[in-house]
Symmetry: C2
Subunit: 328 residues, 2 copies
C-alpha cells in the first residue's frame, strides 16, 4: 500500500495525504476522508522513501564493546528507555573491544545518516578524538573523557581512591591491584591513579604497588590474582578494577587458603548486583551506568534537536557511591 494508492482510494492527491500526515493546511472534509482511508487500509508510510526524501531518521546507533556484561546492559537499558520515550529506535553494534571497529561503526552510522550515536568507548586516544570531531552526526561518548567531544563519564579516579582509603583504614599496608588494560584511560589508568593517590596520602610508596592486568571477566580476575599471589605473597589488600575481576580474585584467594575480608581485603568497582549475594559481601562503588545511559541519551537528543549552529561540547562527570560491605 503506497501513498499514491491510498490517495486514489480516498479520492485526493498524494500531496494531500502527505499534508495530512505531516501537518499542512488541509480542509476538514479531506482530513476526514483520509483518516478513514488510513484506518481502513492500515496504511503506513514507507520508511526508506521518507528517509531518502527528508534525509532524517529516528534511528540512533549505540556502539558497545560487548553485550553480555552488566555495566553495558545497564547502560544500554537506560539509553534505550530514554530514547524510546521520544520515539527513537536503537541500532546496536558490538565491537568486541576492538577500537578499530568503534571507528568503522561510527562511520557506518554517519553513512546511513542515523540521527546520532552513543559510543561506549574502551579507549580515548588522539585518533578517536580527531575522528569524532570530523563526524557530521552528533555523538555522545560515555565512559571515557575526551577533549572537544561531548561525553558522560564516571569519577573513576575518585571511586578507586575512596575504596583504597577504605582498605587502608582497615589497617592494610601491602596493597596490590588488578587493573584493566592501560589502553583504557577510564577503567585502566584512572582507577590505577586513584589507588596510587590514596597510597600516597597514607604515606605509602605508590611506585611499589604490584599491578596485574586482567580482561573484563571472572576468569581474568582469577588468573591475575594467581599472578599477584606469586609476585607479592604477603599482600593483604587488593583493589580490582571491576566487580567481576573481584569475584574471580576471591575465588583464587579461597583456593589458596586465604579468607577474603579476613586475611585479604578486596574491593571492586561497578556495584554488580551479585556483590551483595556473594560471601563475603563485596565492597564496591556504584557507578550509575543506567543513569549515564539515560544522560547520554538525553544529551544526544538535545544535540539532535539543535543541529543549527555547531552545538557546544558538553561534558558531565557522574559521581559514585561507595558500598561498604564485608570484603574489606
Amino acid at each position: 500500500m503506497t501513498m499514491k494508492e491510498l490517495a486514489k482510494l480516498a479520492g485526493v492527491s498524494p500531496a494531500a495525504v502527505s499534508r495530512y500526515l505531516n501537518g499542512g493546511s488541509l480542509s476538514a472534509e479531506k482530513q476526514e476522508v483520509i483518516r478513514r482511508a488510513i484506518e481502513k487500509t492500515g496504511y503506513q508510510p514507507d520508511l526508506a522513501a521518507q528517509m531518502l526524501r527528508t534525509r532524517t531518521t529516528d534511528l540512533v546507533g549505540i556502539i558497545v564493546p560487548k553485550l553480555d556484561s552488566e555495566s553495558v546492559s545497564r547502560l544500554t537499558a537506560g539509553a534505550a528507555e530514554e530514547l524510546s520515550q521520544e520515539g527513537y529506535l536503537c541500532q546496536i553494534a558490538v565491537t568486541q573491544n576492538d577500537p578499530e571497529r568503534e571507528l568503522s561503526y561510527l562511520s557506518l552510522c554517519q553513512n546511513r545518516s542515523l540521527a546520532g550515536a552513543i559510543l561506549m568507548s574502551t579507549t580515548a586516544d588522539a585518533r578517536h578524538e580527531s575522528f569524532l570531531k570530523k563526524l557530521s552526526i552528533p555523538v555522545v561518548v560515555v565512559g571515557q573523557r575526551m577533549k572537544n567531544v561531548s561525553c558522560i563519564y564516571h569519577d573513576d579516579f575518585g571511586a578507586a581512591r575512596e575504596l583504597t582509603r577504605l582498605i587502608l583504614a582497615r589497617g592494610r599496608t601491602r596493597l596490590a591491584m588488578i587493573s584493566a588494560t592501560e589502553q583504557d584511560p577510564a577503567a585502566g589508568l584512572a582507577r590505577q591513579a586513584g589507588v596510587r593517590a590514596a597510597m600516597e596520602e597514607a604515606g605509602l610508596d605508590p611506585g611499589a604497588l604490584p599491578v596485574e592486568i586482567s580482561s573484563f571477566d571472572i576468569a581474568g580476575g582469577a588468573a591475575a590474582m594467581e599472578r599477584l599471589l606469586r609476585r607479592a605473597p604477603g599482600l593483604d589488600g587488593v583493589l580490582c578494577a571491576t566487580d567481576r575481576m573481584a569475584f574471580g580474585a576471591m575465588e583464587t584467594l579461597r583456593s589458596a587458603g586465604l579468607v577474603p575480608g579476613r586475611d585479604v581485603s578486596i574491593a571492586g568497582l561497578g556495584d554488580s548486583w551479585a556483590g551483595r549475594h556473594v560471601v563475603p559481601h563485596l565492597t564496591t562503588a556504584h557507578l550509575y551506568y543506567k543513569t549515564s545511559g539515560r544522560a547520554a541519551a538525553r544529551l544526544l537528543m538535545e544535540k539532535m534537536r539543535i543541529r543549527k549552529q555547531d552545538d557546544p561540547v558538553r561534558q558531565t562527570m557522574l559521581s559514585y557511591s561507595i558500598c561498604p560491605r564485608d570484603s574489606v
Copy 2:
C-alpha cells in the same frame, strides 16, 4: 557525494558505477577508473536510496522484554555475534514485558522492511500465533514454543523436573515453588509442570504444591519467599523459576534464620554466573541462552536467504544441563 557526481568525476554513467558496485558486466578500464574515483572521494552509496529501490536491508530486528537481564544479554550477544558475521546489523526494541508492544514492534519491523526479526517472547497466546503467521517478514521466536511458527526454545519442563528430582532425592518432601507468571508458557507453566511431574513420580500429591508468583528479579523472589514461609511454614525445598528469584529467596530464608542448603533445599534455573559465587553455591540448570541466540540468528538468516517458496516452519528444542551444587 552522490553516485551521479562520482560518475561525472570518473567520466562514466551512473549506471556503470552501479554495475561496478553490484557486479554487472563492465570493461576493465571503466572498472579501474571507477575504483580510483571511489578511492579518491571515499564515496559510499546512500542506504536510504538503496533501500527504497531494492526493498531490502541488512537490518534485523531483535525484540526483547528487557535489556538488563542476564538471559537476555546472553541471548542478544549470541545473536548479534552470529548476525554481524554475515554483515547484518541489529536493531533492538525493548517491550518492558508488554505483549502488546511485542506485536507493535513486530509490525514496525515489517513496515520498515527489515530483513527479519528475532522475537524473545514472554507469552505465546493465540493472538501472537496468528499475528506471526500473517507477518510478511521472516521471524524466529526464541524462548517460547508456538504452533506453526519457527522457534528455538528450551526444555523448561525437563530442566525443572530434573532439578526437582534432585531436591526430592535429598529427602525433601514439603516442596514449594516460586514461579513466573502463568501468562508465560515457558518460564511459567512449563517449569511448574516439571516440578509437579517430579512430585508425581515420587508419589507426592502435585496438587498440594504451594506456588507463589514472582517478577523476574531478586526483589520479587524475596517477596515471594516471604509469602511462602507464611503459607507453608514447614517447607524444606523450593524450586525457583529463575536464578535471580532464587537469590532473593535465599536472602529471605537467611533473614528468617534458615540456612539455604541445610534447612531448605533451593534451586534456580538459568545458570547465572553469580550462582557459583554465592554461598551456598546455587544448584541450577544451564539453559544455553547464548546458543539459542546463535541458533535463532542462523535459522533466521537461512529463512532470509530462501524467501522463495513459503519457507518451512522449523522448531528446535535445546536441551539443558544440570549444575548440581550446594544449595540443594
